[in-house]
Amino acid sequence: MKERERLNERRAITPVISALILSAVVLTVGGIVWAYSQGAMTISAEDYAESVINMTDTISERFIVEHVSYDETHLYIWVYNYGDVGIEVNVTYPENLIGWTEVLSKDLEKIDIGIVLSPNTEVGINVESRRGNDVYYRYVVPS
């Protein structure tokens, strides 16, 4: 009985240590969760903001095929960007060009395609932007 009492008295230090250990565990786990959640939320917020900015730029794109001419070996296509954002365009038809042409806001750029076309041929010209917008233009090769 005395021995038991003695042991109970010796346990007096244990609650303090266990409280400290529990607090340390809570703080460590909480800190890890806090850091992880903050990082994850920051990344999510940045990704979301970036996707919204991209989407805003996509819907802000405004361009037209202003003029087309042909000189027996080359088809020249003038693309006018009347929107507020710069664009990169590519002609996908009648020839699918590989390179992108940058057209700044309120700028006009000439795209040159080496192609042989017969007179009076009707050509559908498709100009596509890197963000996925496209413009269609119908051109008849002069006789």
Binding site: R11, P15, S18, A19, L22, S23, V26, L27, G30, G31, V33, W34, S37, Q38, A40, M41, T42, S44, A45, E46, Y48, A49, V52, I53, M55, T56, I59, S60, R62, F63, I64, E66, H67, S69, W78, Y80, Y82, K106, L108
Partner: protein, 249 residues
């Protein structure tokens, strides 16, 4: 009892710390993210509304323009004057003029409901020996393309004398506001007897009417409403120097 009481205190401390960490996460991670998302959404919506209004402005751009031609008396150089009438409510800025596929970058501002004239020179290089047809197109800042209704003027240089010729002349009837049951009668007054070139009802819209005639000369334009109320009676002259006229009712 003593042991149970200590355990409760330990759990109480941990619960408080856990709650504090949870509240900290809410305030430092979740709420800022929600604010960023909300702000991005707001910016997107604002941009969308801006674009809708810009597209509306673009659709509202409405100019009527025709070409007046003249010749420099000393050099026989052909001159084309672009005559614009902005019939819209927005100012229109012309940025590109295409002359026979050649680009001229310009900066013409035409205020709402006003007329502006801009002269184009150096159209062809001297000596002016050939017959040249001029195809002209203008492009606005907002990407609208306009063509003259009177077609392509043709400049000829024969026996050292330059002259202009048109194949289509245009009378443009424009309404300032919608009016029902309109009728137009256009008679050529230089022909004897007078030849009626147009005698028809006009639809009730604000786009206006382009009436093309083949010959130059004088024309009497009478616009009536409900068949008997005369709104406008005007005699107009069409010639190579003035191939298009605007009649406003």
């Amino acid at each position: 009892m003593y042991t149970i009481g200590t355990s409760c205190r330990r759990r109480g401390t941990s619960t408080i710390m856990g709650t504090l960490i949870f509240v900290g996460i809410i305030f430092t991670a979740v709420i800022p993210m929600m604010l960023v998302v909300k702000q991005a959404d707001t910016l997107y919506e604002m941009r969308k509304h801006e674009l809708v209004s810009l597209d509306e402005e673009r659709a509202m751009e409405s100019i009527f323009f025709h070409l007046e031609t003249s010749i420099d008396s000393e050099t026989e150089e052909p001159i084309i004057t672009l005559v614009f009438y902005n019939r819209g409510v927005m100012a229109v800025k012309i940025v590109h003029v295409w002359i026979n596929g050649g680009l001229r970058e310009v900066n013409y501002l035409i205020l709402p409901t006003s007329n502006e004239e801009f002269e184009l020179r150096n159209l062809i290089d001297p000596p002016y020996e050939d017959t040249v047809s001029f195809s002209i197109m203008v492009v606005t800042d907002n990407g609208n393309i306009f063509l003259p209704p009177s077609g392509n003027p043709e400049y000829s240089f024969i026996d050292e004398v330059g002259s202009w010729e048109y194949h289509v002349y245009t009378i443009y009837i424009m309404m300032t506001h919608k009016r029902p049951q309109l009728h137009a009668l256009i008679t050529c007054t230089t022909e004897v007897p007078n030849v009626i070139v147009f005698n028809d009802n006009l639809e009730n819209n604000l786009d206006g009417y382009l009436i093309g005639v083949t010959f130059d000369g004088k024309y009497l334009v009478i616009v009536t409403q409900f068949y008997d109320i005369e709104l406008r009676r005007v005699e107009v002259t069409l010639n190579p120097n003035s191939p298009a006229v605007l009649v406003i009712i």
